[in-house]
């Protein structure tokens, strides 16, 4: 006896008592359990009560026919497969077809062979079990898939907060990201610098989807933290490169472009490592400057080999810089043609209204490809006046360790340090230990940066600031600065920091001295009162922020006092 599939419960419905008895004993002999009904109605009721796994139905019964009983049983069974086999003395094709139409799975004409009936019961039981297994597996897969999608949606929320955020909505930026999957391998981040400038990064990780997206998390975290703490672009690039080298597999890397925008001097510093040619559109002359990738992507070179160079580009208001991932020129139409540089350049040639450029590029790419098949990211960065930003730069995060309330510290930086290290983040970090001062981080950063660059460039390096005023002055000035810095053999810059508590807040006294020959500060101070446009050594800026700015010695030492009022700050904060 085949009992491999185990014993099941079978419902037998027949109005003939003899037939019921024969069927009952046959089924019992096979090792199954039996419940019997005398008509269709009873069959349906018993089905509900007993939940048999298989049903043998006579067609012609009183009260309710076998056809109707089959319909109701199939409906009650729902997704479960309960095989219904009709046993009938009807022989015409029409009646037999109707058995199947009513939901029956098979039929046997009376008189039937017990052997065939047994074989059919076994066959349908096997099918029932297969169906059951399939359903269990289907539900399991559906459950897994649902959980996976929920997890991905959750992860995407975190990812988007980290990897596509910062000040991307600033009025001088326009960006586009088309996700190829839920996650893409592209990163687009922007942040305001404590000094009021802006840093933007567009990155494209090798690969697609989650594996590519994971690397974006540490990258974005480093970027935001370092920008907020006042680190420079080369320092951020170098740190990001080291981190990527550390966490990515050997075959992984991140192509990218970083831009440091100075709205005061209208200068963009650009680093491109592995992105296709980026364009600078000069609105006045309607010309395109092509910026080529000059560096290796991030995460390939070890820290000691990584080159932190960049290009300095002087631009005008309303000039636009475009960075994009290879998804733009490699966008394919259905014949697998690339969108390509020719079509991209044509958009610029045909443009009439520069404000529409970004949309025109977007439309041109999308009308070419229809559906994007690859990660595709781009950003437009416009040079605008600094005062066009209404929002204040976000303050440096307040230190979580509080309580430096009355202290002083001093630092001396010597040539080896001055050549390769930017001490401003270190000093700013020191100052942020003071309670309540983080709301002033932007101003303090500006003050420190101003004091430091004056001491370094005009003091230690002896540079003349009038050089900046000429046409390509900035580029020349920075090249000369770099040259002198590398030649530097002696010199120093000293910082003295002192913090005192005042009744409603505090005061920071910062003194900076350098090894330079000094300058005639008396003469300069007089000229400031005569001519407020005089910008030499940023003294006006310092005086607008500080309650005291005083030069001493031979002009190579300056002391400033920066005071704040906590109550005013909190009233101001509460007002927003």
């Amino acid at each position: 006896m085949e009992l491999a599939e185990g014993s099941i419960k079978i419902l037998v419905a027949d109005d003939s008592e003899t037939d019921r008895m024969i069927l009952r004993s046959l089924v019992l002999k096979q090792g199954h359990r039996v419940v019997t009904a005398e008509d269709g109605q009873q069959a349906v009721e018993l089905f509900i009560l007993e939940r048999p796994q298989l049903v043998l139905l006579d067609v012609l019964m009183p009260v309710m026919s076998g056809y109707e009983a089959a319909r109701q049983i199939k409906q009650l069974a729902g997704e479960e497969l309960v095989p219904v086999i009709f046993l009938t003395s009807l022989k015409d094709a029409q009646s037999l077809a109707e058995c199947l139409d009513a939901g029956g799975d098979d039929f046997l004409s009376k008189p039937y062979s017990p052997l065939i009936l047994q074989a059919k019961i076994n066959a349908f039981n096997r099918m029932r079990m297969m169906h059951h297994t399939l359903q269990v597996q289907r539900d399991k897969i559906a459950g897994h898939n649902k959980r996976l999608l929920q997890e991905q949606a959750f992860a995407k929320e975190i990812f988007d907060k980290v990897a596509h955020s910062g000040c991307l909505n600033a009025h001088n930026l326009q960006h586009l990201q088309s996700p190829y999957a839920m996650f893409n391998g592209d990163v687009l981040i922007a942040a305001r610098k404590p000094s009021g400038g802006m840093l933007v990064f567009l990155g494209d990780f090798a690969g697609h989807g989650l594996p590519a997206a994971i690397g974006a998390m540490p990258l974005a975290e480093i970027f935001y933290h370092m920008v907020a703490k006042g680190f420079s672009m080369p320092e951020i690039l170098s740190e990001v490169n080291s981190k990527m080298k550390q966490v990515l597999p050997v075959s992984g890397f991140c192509c990218g472009g970083m831009v440091d925008i100075d709205f005061d001097s209208k200068v963009m510093k650009v680093w491109i490592g592995g992105l296709p040619d980026c364009y600078l559109y000069r609105t006045k002359t309607k010309t395109l400057d092509v910026l080529t990738s000059k560096w290796l992507p991030l995460g390939i070179l070890s820290a000691d080999k990584f080159d932190t160079g960049y290009e300095i580009i002087e631009v005008d208001y309303d000039d636009r810089l475009y960075l994009w991932s290879d998804g733009v020129i490699e966008a394919q139409d259905d014949q697998q043609h690339f969108f390509g540089e020719e079509r991209l350049k044509a958009v610029f040639t045909n443009n009439e209204e520069p404000d529409q450029l970004f949309n025109e590029i977007k439309e041109s790419v999308f009308s070419f490809i229809g559906e994007p098949t690859d990660d595709l990211s781009m950003i437009e960065i416009s040079m605008v006046p600094r005062d066009s930003f209404s929002d204040k730069p976000v303050p440096v995060e307040a230190s979580t360790i509080r309580g430096a309330r009355n202290w002083s510290a001093s630092f001396e930086f010597r040539p080896e340090t001055l050549q390769s290290y930017n001490p401003i983040p270190l000093i700013l970090h020191c100052l942020m230990q003071v309670p309540g001062v983080n709301l002033h981080s932007g101003r303090l950063y500006t003050i420190l940066a101003e004091l430091y660059s004056n001491a370094l460039e005009h003091g230690v390096l002896g540079m003349d600031s009038s050089l900046k005023a000429s046409l390509h002055g900035f580029t020349q000035y920075y090249a000369e600065r770099e040259h002198r810095l590398q030649q530097l053999k002696e010199g120093f810059i000293r910082f003295w920091l002192e913090h005192k508590i005042e009744p409603q807040g505090g005061v920071l006294v910062i003194t900076v001295a350098d090894s330079g020959p000094g300058f005639n500060y008396q003469k300069m101070m007089n000229r400031i009162t005569e001519d407020t446009n005089y910008h030499g050594r940023g003294v006006n800026l310092l005086r607008s922020f500080c309650r005291r700015v005083e030069y001493s010695e031979v002009g190579n030492q300056v002391t400033i006092e920066y005071a704040w009022n906590n109550e005013l700050d909190s009233a101001h904060k509460g007002h927003h």
Binding site: G207, S251, L275, P276, W295, L296, D326
Partner: protein, 101 residues
């Protein structure tokens, strides 16, 4: 076979040829090409004469080979690049890591 490897008789040079698209689907066969050598060659030549396209995962595979061949001391030449293929290598400035001819 899209990836074929030929080692010189003395085993000192391994030449790998890639036909068609060089992308992630060639990952295993490219790996096999340089890992299944009896003697570690001191010179690798990647012949891209019949390579029509290169994607970022192909660049990653080249980095894997470079790592396998000794990292900064690796001696790898990439030869016979078609203009489109060469452009992809140059955009990523891979000429700083490989000898591209």
């Amino acid at each position: 076979m899209a990836v074929t490897a030929i080692q010189s008789e003395d085993g000192s040079e391994l030449t790998i040829r890639i036909q068609g698209r060089f992308d992630f689907s060639e990952h295993q066969s490219f790996r096999d090409a340089y890992e299944r050598t009896d003697k570690l060659p001191n010179q690798y030549t990647i012949d891209l004469n019949e390579t029509t396209y290169l994607d970022s995962s192909a660049l990653g595979m080249l980095l894997l080979l470079r790592d396998h061949a000794g990292g900064d001391t690796a001696n790898i030449r990439i030869v016979n690049c078609k203009p489109d293929v060469k452009k992809i290598l140059l955009i990523s400035n891979f000429e700083q890591l490989f000898t591209i001819q």
